[in-house]
Homo-oligomer: 403 residues x 2
């Protein structure tokens, strides 16, 4: 009962079956909100700024007092005081007077413009010469120019950038509701696996997939919960998987390489829930399993590290993006491939590439799919669809960047 | 003594004066190393894999025993045992025999190929029929195929991706030396500023710059240390600045908007060290200050939030990238601007834009430079060089993305 499906169908099954849930959100301090996705619309409840402010260093005036004046015949206004930074203007301006004000300072009541310092001169005896005619509104930011109560300023689903943190600060938010980061449980199986810190004996290999996949999951913005290396035993795996499903939003079973491990994984998923597919028509990555246990996605990843890496990038990442409200867009670069690549497997083939010559040339990385070292220095990958027999040298390719 | 310089010269001064220091590195667990920059070359000290392994489920054989066999006339080999996953093969293979092995299993001594399960049949009495002729080396990954002792696998300066974490795991690293994250001190000044959580009175505004700049600094990968809001007082600022220089690698003085604040900042920098420039010929962002105190860069940022944001992106970020060993490259998108933009200020002008129509169209964001809300939904910015008088509608522009 091996249900093998195409990569496109596999992604559709995943995204359709496990939609995001807007009820799941965290309230985080704005110091930690950058890079998270807003859970609700942000609507201004106050005026920003809350009062009229000068945008220059100079003198607040009644504009009509300056009409017609020039450097040859300046208007003479009596200095009636100074607005201190951080304080409300103390007095109302009256015709024939001006009040000194700094950039950002409160505009005195009655004033309707500010004259820049550069166009003024102190004549002594509290007299200020104004050598330019200003119009009402000049050099002022008015109350509410930035935001008015009721303005919808940031929509639910916005991926918060640093400037959005500025906007939230201006509105007085110190906490904000953001989509919860999915918790991704990672279970390792495979009797041949030993921990990274162990020295493998003959027949053993270090567990490469778990730390690599964990790093990838964290780089996608999700949280990793590790369940250690479980022996290839149905009962042991079933117990750990049940616990992982209970505690996590997504579970990855990072498999050993043998068919035995894959069979155990598939049977345990069937025992606890439903097997959605078993095998994807792609290379590398064919022995990928997807299950649904209590409404939560459970992936059986291939044992070969390169295959596991591609499957995580191509299927787990879009699911995490969907759950977090991130855009699904990937960065791509158009380049020419520097050597012919054959492909006639009747399945989509994914090939890691190194970008060279200022990103104009893509060099495919050859090598047995299990060899993780082959990915060192790779910048991304290309996909050869299954209906194509390969690529000729210098063919234009779209390189999807890893990050 | 106002030294105004061009944006290009400003960046050059910054990058030349404050080079990276490779002596400063952290030893971090590989679980936290993704996204960090390697401080030293990584050289393999063992073989990966450490023994010959099967790449398929099947039977280990002496290849010459299969030569000439077909499904019509299979070779008959005696099954001499099974290699258990995680264990060394127990016995050496001899002519006329085969040993069952799983994908990733240890290849028995004497064997030089593996026949896939699909090309075999059990005949009973421990006899296995082999219906395909295999060549020596078929379906084997040899000891050291992935890495050999002495292989330089990752170079100092590599920005560690998840697949690099896989490589480090395969080599048994659980810690690795990475460039230290610079600590960036942020001091707020300006008598008009109140904390985000306060309700500003007339004449006051919430401190937008500090949380926004802090979020930007963190998104660049550095560490933020906040020194609070300091009043516009030379002695108070000087004391805090001296402490910040002592405790941090870079110090940003996130200024209030008034000329008074800027003057205090410049004088305090001169008291403690050297003023490198005072003013950049750009819009927004002109009132930017750079100083060197005890060999550490001190920036006086403009008070206007949008200006402060551009200066952080254009000058602080490249410095952080340099100190962390990150590439200086920025993501850009080629688009057409949807309306004419005039610019005749004799200085470079930076304009935030929103990308529309599947990123083909850039819509410039108008608005007074102080209005932080204008940056909501912006995707990046364009630069109009100072020798250009503006852009006509539909001109092609290179949009530099914020992230």
């Amino acid at each position: 009962m091996l249900k093998v499906i195409s990569p496109e169908d596999a992604l559709q099954v995943i995204l359709d079956r496990f939609p995001p849930c807007s009820r799941r959100f965290d309230s985080v301090g704005i110091g930690n909100a950058c890079g998270r996705v807003l859970n609700t619309d942000i609507v201004a409840v106050e005026f920003v700024p809350g009062y009229n402010r000068s945008t220059v260093d100079g003198y607040a005036v009644i504009a009509s007092d300056t009409f017609g004046c020039t450097s040859a015949s300046p208007a003479l206004l009596t200095l009636a005081g100074e607005v201190l930074m951080g304080k409300a203007a103390k007095r109302r301006i009256v015709a024939g007077t001006c009040i000194a004000v700094s950039t950002g300072g409160d505009l005195p009541d009655g004033a309707d413009a500010v004259v820049m310092q550069e166009y003024t001169e102190e004549y002594g005896n509290n007299l200020i010469g104004i050598s330019v005619s200003v119009a009402p509104g000049n050099s002022i930011i008015f109350k509410g120019d930035d935001l008015m109560p009721g303005d919808k300023i940031l929509a639910a689903g916005t991926l918060l950038a640093p400037h959005d943190i500025g906007i939230l600060s201006a509105l007085g938010y110190d906490k904000v509701g953001v989509r919860r980061r999915p918790v991704v449980g990672v279970i390792s199986t495979g009797d041949e696996l030993v921990a990274t810190t162990s020295v493998p004996q003959r027949g053993q290999v270090r567990d490469v997939n778990t730390p690599m996949i964990a790093a990838a999951i964290r780089s996608f913005g999700a949280v990793v919960k590790r369940f250690g290396i479980i022996e290839d035993d149905k009962a042991a795996l079933q117990m750990t998987l049940a616990q992982a499903v209970d505690e996590c939003d997504i579970v990855l079973i990072s498999g050993g390489s043998s068919a035995g491990t894959r069979d155990v994984t598939a049977r345990v998923i069937e025992n606890l829930g439903a097997l959605l597919f078993h095998g994807i028509a792609m290379k590398p990555g064919k022995p990928t399993i997807l299950g649904d246990i209590s409404g939560k996605p459970v992936f059986g990843l291939p044992g070969h590290p390169v295959a596991a890496y591609f499957v995580t990038e191509l299927f787990v990442r879009p699911l995490i993006d969907q759950l977090m409200g991130y855009p699904q867009k990937r960065r791509t670069v158009a380049a020419r491939i520097c050597e012919a690549v054959s492909s006639n497997h009747g399945r989509a083939e994914y090939i890691a590439v190194v970008l060279e010559d200022d990103d104009k040339v893509a060099r495919p990385i050859r090598g047995k799919s299990g060899l993780i070292a082959s990915l060192a220095n790779s910048d991304g990958y290309i996909c050869i669809p299954r209906d194509l027999e390969g690529l000729s040298k210098d063919a234009e390719v779209s390189v999807i960047l890893w990050a």
